[in-house]
């Protein structure tokens, strides 16, 4: 097996599981309980908060709010910030390549009377800074731009984006689900007001994610209840998942430089080999891209059938942004935003590396890819 879909799901790092599993059976308390058992798990939650803060270089760990998923963090960031600051203005901007868990909360705001603008990107998926500047008005309360895109790997020019957004007096939210633990994020230097990151994408269990809420940023809860997490996220804390996210963040901070250099070297060879195939093209930015990320398109064939062919005949797992593989039978909005036609978007393949991948995989994957493309083109009427 060569698993190349780490953006969709990551195995839990065995070290993380060894660290966090005690919070399932022995230390199972509720952090709100006042007896010792509750206090010890509250300490675990606070320690994890510190590790997550350190990973993104937040000065104050109290600015980290734990949620249940990146979707929830994005909802809290987008809806919670816009609704809380609606008196200031009712305009929200998001880049055209945002994840659906940013897009749909933003569209929800639109239904509630907000004006929603989309910032276009160039053919590499880099946000158009001039267009952003033009769209920024005094009514703009919030702008959301992903740190890096999970489908095409492109890393955005965060500091330039931040300068423009702050120049207009708006807040900047950044979905860093795909980027955290892979590139160095510094919320202060980068000028980020709100940042989403997810535990599983760091190698932690699902069930924990975080939203960084910078100093002075006003946000309201979008899921009323018991008022945990300083009132911003109700519900009993998932201590196992939070502790696991903390440990995964600690490991990421420690090992990122080395591990990403390793994955990038494999990735670079993979891209080189795959681009030898006829009518294959890279999607996303050639250099400003996540180090573990390779994404392609192949003309005249379709991504779901590529995916199935690679899985069935070669035990290789990849992702695709093809219309045929989506719930709605729409091609990925990211691929359309970088200017691909529906037909071009059909041939999309996304490969995301992880710890299990080795340089020995490159030739195997490239050969499998060549055979797959050849076979499917043989069936294609185009």
């Amino acid at each position: 097996m060569v698993y190349l879909d780490h953006a969709s799901a990551m195995p839990v790092d065995p070290r993380v599981l060894a660290f966090a599993r005690r919070y399932l059976e022995e230390e199972f308390g509720n952090p709100s309980s006042l007896y010792d058992r509750g206090l010890s798990v509250r300490r675990a939650v606070e320690a994890a908060r510190g590790q997550v803060a350190a990973l993104i270089r937040a000065a104050d760990q109290r600015k980290i709010v734990f949620t249940g998923s990146a979707t929830e963090s994005n909802n809290l960031a987008i809806r919670g910030t816009a609704l809380r600051n609606r008196k200031k203005g009712k305009k929200v901007l998001v880049s055209a390549v945002e994840h659906i868990s940013v897009m749909n909360p933003a569209k929800d705001l639109q239904k509630q009377g907000f004006e929603l603008g989309f910032i276009p990107v160039d053919r590499y998926g880099t946000v158009d800074l001039a267009a952003l500047e033009a769209e920024l008005t005094p009514e703009t309360v919030l702008v959301s731009v992903n740190y890096a895109n999970d489908e095409i790997g492109t890393v955005e020019p965060m500091r330039e984006v931040s300068r423009l957004v702050h120049g207009a007096g708006a807040y900047l939210h950044v979905n860093a689900t795909a980027a955290a633990g892979r590139v160095l994020i510094d919320v202060q230097e980068d000028g980020i007001d709100l940042l989403t990151l997810s535990g599983n994408d760091l190698g932690g269990p699902r069930g924990a994610a975080a939203l960084y809420v910078g100093p002075g940023v006003k946000v309201q809860s979008v899921m009323p209840g018991g008022g945990q997490e300083r009132g911003l996220r109700s519900g009993t804390e998932n201590v196992f998942a939070i502790a696991g996210m903390g440990e995964a963040a600690r490991l990421a901070a420690e090992e990122m430089a080395e591990e990403m250099a390793r994955e990038q070297a494999i990735r670079d060879r993979l891209i080189r080999e795959v681009l030898e195939i006829e009518e294959a093209a890279l999607t996303g930015h050639p250099t400003a891209r996540l180090p573990h990320h390779a994404s392609f398109r192949f003309s005249r064939i379709e991504g779901e059938s590529i995916l199935l062919n690679l899985d069935t005949f070669f035990d290789i797992q990849v992702a695709t942004g093809s219309a045929c593989s989506s719930r709605t039978l729409e091609p990925s909005h990211v691929l359309l935003a970088i200017g691909l036609t529906h037909e071009q978007a059909h041939g999309s393949v996304v490969m995301t590396l992880g710890r299990s991948n080795t340089v020995a995989d490159v030739q195997y994957v490239a050969d499998a890819m060549r055979e797959t493309v050849g076979r499917l083109r043989g069936i294609s009427p185009l």
Partner: protein
């Protein structure tokens, strides 16, 4: 528990995807059907050879998903050797049923395959009519 949803493709779909029958183009085809699906831009081509109103050869080409490939393969298998009237009666449901079902979102792919077959037959019949008219004239 009843009503458990189908998960993934059936064994038969995967079989037809992995070993598609009748791939390619019939030489000097008597009829050609080429249909595109407006929903997602997929493309399906069916070519047929006809003798005495019986399909004696049939081949397909597909630009589309695993389901599109499997349904096309299945439709060629269903139509091979059939009288045109019988072949015209093949419905998308027949195709899906023969494949032991398709995920709901993929039902339109079976439509595509049946449509391409029907179009190929109609193409043949129109050509035949034209030829007969020319002969009469």
């Amino acid at each position: 528990m009843e009503d458990r949803p189908q998960i993934g493709y059936s064994k038969r779909v995967m079989d037809h995807f992995m070993n598609p029958r009748n791939v390619g183009e019939v030489e000097n085809a008597d009829g050609l059907g080429l249909v595109g699906n407006p929903v997602c831009g997929d493309l399906m081509q069916v070519t047929i050879k006809v003798e005495d109103d019986v399909i004696t050869d049939i081949k397909f080409k597909t630009f589309g998903c695993g389901s599109a490939i499997a349904t096309a393969s299945m439709v060629t298998e269903l139509a091979m050797g059939k009288h045109l009237d019988e072949a015209l009666a093949i419905t998308r449901q027949d195709v899906a049923d023969e494949l032991e079902g398709l995920p709901p979102v993929k039902m339109h792919c079976s439509n595509l395959a049946a449509d391409a077959l029907h179009e190929a037959i109609e193409d043949y019949q129109e050509k035949k009519k034209k030829k007969e008219a020319e002969m009469a004239a």
